[in-house]
């Protein structure tokens, strides 16, 4: 008996521990503490179904263990050959489904109530729209109401430390106490936006725009990850939400706008850039935007991601090189990079043509990019 009881008791203890409030978030046994009203409702329905499930599990275990102990041949128990012919045997096919139905209705009615509260975006004027675009393998957050775009990429182990794979270069900054609508889509393959504290998970599907919403109710930094397999570096698509007060959010917007204007001014100037300047800019841009696939070393990850070091494109005619960067290569993971400005493309292409021993030796100016568009 004890051989059966031990693991069973262990299992039940674990489950009971799980439901006890004392061992919540701290040990990573359950959902992290919610940070939005809708997430709190979802947390509660999760706890409710888990408690019902645990109760039923204990019930089943209790009956089975009782039976295993008492109804065994070694105790001399004679099988009751007519048990299935008793009134219970005759009517259990009605009684059991009725009981299960009652449990089901309890769960379903509560679930439906929560579902209706959280599923559809509230119809209000005052929504802040953030378009969330999944890319292989980074996130683009487009603050539609404010004309600001944030590119968010994972940062390396050296910089992120213990937060590696849960830390990004640019966070998704959101204000507390405002209803935010996320519009989800993808530029290439499927991705899924998931931040547990927000209890939001939605697939990013190319050609679709799906929506979710959230109203944050506490400040903090909330970390999530891409939840839909999206190819090689699926594990390197963290999402970091920074929930701040409206005041700080407004400051952040101003700061972002200033940066944006400065970058645009720089790109629009008709200055001729020196090779060194372009190489310097290009290295930074390449390492953040291109290195996930083509690698910092330029070696790529063949066959999916070809090497740029010594490649025909990066050492051949400039026109072909610009063409592939601006328009991408259909049918492959190489996407069009035409959303970058002329200066950025010029810097990247110059860098690719002169780094890692590539000896094209030429310098591509923003004006060349403009001509190639």
């Amino acid at each position: 008996m004890s051989v059966i009881a031990k693991p069973v008791v262990g299992l039940i203890t674990w489950l009971l521990l799980l439901t006890a409030a004392s061992v919540r978030a701290e040990y990573g046994l359950n959902f992290p503490e919610p940070a939005a009203t809708s997430a709190r409702q979802i947390y509660d329905i999760h706890m409710m179904t888990m408690q019902i499930a645990t109760f039923l599990l204990v019930l089943v275990f209790a009956f089975v263990i009782y039976s295993l102990y008492f109804h065994r041949k070694s105790r001399g128990f004679e099988a009751d050959q007519n048990f299935h012919k008793s009134w219970f045997g005759n009517w259990s096919w009605v009684i059991v489904p009725a009981l299960v139905l009652a449990v089901d209705l309890t769960i379903a009615s509560n679930a439906q109530r929560v579902l209706e509260a959280v599923w559809e975006v509230p119809e209000e004027e005052d929504l802040m729209d953030v378009k969330v675009v999944g890319h292989q393998w980074w996130w683009e957050f487009d603050y539609l109401d404010h004309g600001i775009k944030v590119e968010s990429r994972h940062v390396g182990k050296e910089k992120a430390g213990d937060l590696y794979l849960r830390e990004v270069d640019n966070r998704l900054v959101l204000p507390v106490g405002k209803k935010i609508r996320f519009l989800h889509t993808s530029a290439d393959v499927l991705h899924a936006f998931w931040v547990p504290e927000l209890a939001v998970k939605k697939d990013a599907i190319p050609g679709y725009v799906t929506e979710t919403w959230v109203e944050l109710d506490r400040e903090g930094v909330f970390r999530g990850q891409c939840a839909e397999l999206c190819g090689t570096w699926h594990s390197r698509m963290p999402i970091v939400v920074e929930a701040v007060s409206q005041q700080r959010f407004d400051d952040w917007l101003i700061e972002q706008n200033t940066l944006k204007v400065a970058a645009a001014t720089e790109a629009a100037s008709d200055k001729t850039w020196s090779t060194e300047e372009l190489m310097e800019k290009g290295r930074g841009l390449y390492n953040s935007k291109c290195a996930a696939c083509h690698q910092v070393t330029g070696d790529g990850l063949p066959p999916a991601f070809p090497a740029l070091k010594g490649s025909a494109v990066a050492t051949g005619p400039v026109a072909a090189h610009l063409e592939i960067v601006i328009n991408g290569k259909p049918g492959t993971a190489m996407q069009p990079w035409n959303s970058l400005n002329n200066l950025e493309i010029a810097a990247i292409v110059t860098y690719e043509r002169n780094a890692w021993g590539n000896d094209a030796g030429d310098t591509v100016q923003p004006a060349d990019v403009q001509a190639a568009r």
Binding site: L11, W14, G28, L29, N30, F31, P32, H46, T49, A53, L56, L57, V60, F61, V64, S67, H71, R72, K73, S74, A79, D80, F83, H84, S92, W93, V96, P97, V100, D104, A108, A111, Q112, V114, L115, V118, W119, L165, D188, L190, P196, A199, K201, K202, D203, P206, Y208, E211, Q225, A227, E228, L229, G231, T232, W233, S235, R236, A304, G331, T332
Partner: protein, 530 residues
């Protein structure tokens, strides 16, 4: 030579010798054995890929394999286990036992039976090629999509995806042929005196399974064919830029994929319906409700597929329907579990290995079923979806629900097949190591999922380390325990205590009236039922 004299000769001289016996076999027992051996080989291949996956996840960081190979292994593990191990093993049990149970001399369509098996090695070759082709020069990229093969990712993959698509076609053909054979056998070859509603429960489960297969496998075949067209012939079924719809593939896939869960589960439910009464020494509780529950599961199971896709952005009405439909499945499944417990109740139980597995299944499958109800709840699924919680859940239903049921069946019928008793002591050791290893592997994954670890990632943040270590250690114990299974099976085939025809004290049914092992041709005249 007429068929009659051939049968006559076979009776006297035994089965043909050498490779002809197996390649040209039309004998349900030999084909059943082939299916089981094939499944065992695939179990080890699929298991090896799982070991590499868990080895990689043992610690944070990327140690053993590169990310594409990791994703390739994830894909391969699922496909090999589902199509290579579980389904053929269940078909092997069906081939062996259905004719013995219903008093038929063989399957209704013996030559088709041969074909449906011998397609499998070809399919397995294609499947394995899809895994290894990228390692050859010019072999293209690896399959990094997971077994769900969702486009657009699956359109980007190199030629190995084409091998996989053809493997799925072949596997589908094999399943459909086997299903037709089983349906025809069950409907036409029952001995006089076995009406449909007195048919042994294993036969019932397979009848329903076979119908499910015929209904849903063509949908998968259609889906992957459309994928093939998108890849090579310029169609845009799943490409939004060409007017298609990437989500359409998900619907086609899960229209197959969800009933597939019941296809894997039901044969094992059938095995349990024999094992538990045998070792409880009393008849199955609620035979009619069991049949009814099974038909209900199969029917409702066909129309709840989109609960695998709650996150695609369906309307409130659609998700409400799929949620409630899914929760409702707990009614027939609950009734099945109840019937098993009621069969044990007031029985006179002994705990030989098949019964140990049966008890473990009742307990652990209940657990997996209950976490299934949690997953059905749409708002909460916003958290669980595509996390390690899901991985834990479906292994808790499929491992006890399908694989342990097959183990129970193998130990239950092995003495009948070989004529030798297996080593009970070793088998019990196998049971305990296996079940403890299993729980150690998958129980901690629930916590990982709730804490925010997505599935199918090769590398994870340090906060997920502890439970991953436990899970990987458990996986090694679980994985290597199957070597013991292999040893026990080989040992039993080679010798052991002679088994009586009855084998188990409480066993009831026609199959136990034949010798152990049964003659090469059995029930050449229909048995007389009292």
């Amino acid at each position: 030579m007429t068929t009659a004299t051939m049968a006559h000769e076979a009776d006297h001289h035994g089965p043909p010798k050498g490779w002809r016996r197996w390649l040209l076999s039309t004998n349900h027992k030999d084909i059943g054995t082939l299916y089981l051996i094939f499944a065992l080989i695939m179990l080890f291949l699929g298991g090896a890929s799982a070991m590499v996956i868990r080895g990689e996840l043992f610690m944070p960081g990327i140690q053993l394999v590169d990310p594409d190979l990791y994703n390739n292994l994830v894909t391969n593990h699922a496909l090999i286990m589902i199509f290579g191990a579980v389904m053929p093993a269940a078909a092997g049990l069906a081939n062996w036992m259905i004719p013995l149970m219903i008093g038929a001399p063989d399957m209704a369509l013996p030559r088709m039976n041969n074909l449906s098996f011998w397609i499998l090695p070809a399919a397995a070759t294609m499947l394995i090629l899809s895994f290894v082709v990228p390692f050859f020069p010019g072999g293209g990229t690896q399959i990094n999509t997971g077994w769900t093969l969702y486009p657009p990712l699956s359109v980007q993959v190199g030629m190995s995806m084409d091998f996989l698509i053809f493997a799925i076609h072949l596997l589908g053909i094999s399943s459909i042929l086997a299903s037709i054979n089983i349906i025809v056998t069950l409907l036409n070859m029952r001995a006089p005196g076995i009406p449909l509603f007195k048919m042994p429960m294993f036969c019932w489960t397979w009848l329903v399974t076979a119908f499910l297969l015929i209904l849903v496998v063509p949908v998968l075949a259609g889906g992957v064919t459309m994928l093939l067209f998108d890849r090579h012939f310029g169609t845009s079924f799943f490409n939004a830029a060409g007017g298609g719809d990437p989500v359409l593939f998900q619907h086609l896939f899960w229209f197959f994929g969800h009933p597939e869960v019941y296809i894997l589960l039901l044969p094992s439910i059938g095995v349990l319906s024999h094992v538990i009464p045998t070792f409880a020494r009393k008849p199955l509780f609620g035979y009619p409700s069991m049949v009814g529950a099974m038909l209900a599961v199969a029917t409702i199971g066909m129309v709840v597929w989109a609960h695998h896709q709650y996150t695609i952005g369906m309307s409130l009405g659609a998700v409400s329907y799929f949620m409630i439909g899914t929760i409702i499945i707990s009614i027939p499944v609950g009734l099945m579990i109840f019937n098993f417990i009621a069969t044990m109740w007031r029985g006179s139980m002994t705990f030989e290995t098949p019964m140990l597995f049966a008890v473990a299944i009742v307990l652990m499958f209940t657990f997996g079923g209950l976490s299934g109800i949690m997953l059905a709840v749409v708002p909460a699924d916003m958290q669980y979806h595509d996390s390690m919680f899901v991985v834990a859940h479906f292994h808790y239903v499929l491992m006890p629900g399908a694989v342990f049921g097959l183990f129970a069946g193998v130990f239950y019928w092995l003495p009948k097949w070989t004529g030798h008793m297996y080593d009970e002591k070793l088998a019990k050791i196998f049971f305990w190591v296996n079940v403890i290893g299993f729980n150690l592997t998958f129980f901690p994954q629930h916590f990982l999922g709730l804490a925010g670890m997505p599935r199918r990632i090769i590398d994870y943040n340090v906060i997920f380390t502890e439970f991953n270590v436990i899970s990987s250690v458990g996986a090694m114990i679980f994985g290597f325990s199957h070597l013991l299974l292999l040893y026990i099976v080989i040992k039993t085939i080679r010798g052991g205590k002679q088994a009586t025809p009855q084998v188990w004290e409480g066993a009831r049914g026609l199959e136990w009236q034949l010798d152990s092992p049964p003659p090469f041709h059995s029930w050449t005249t229909a048995p007389q039922l009292k």
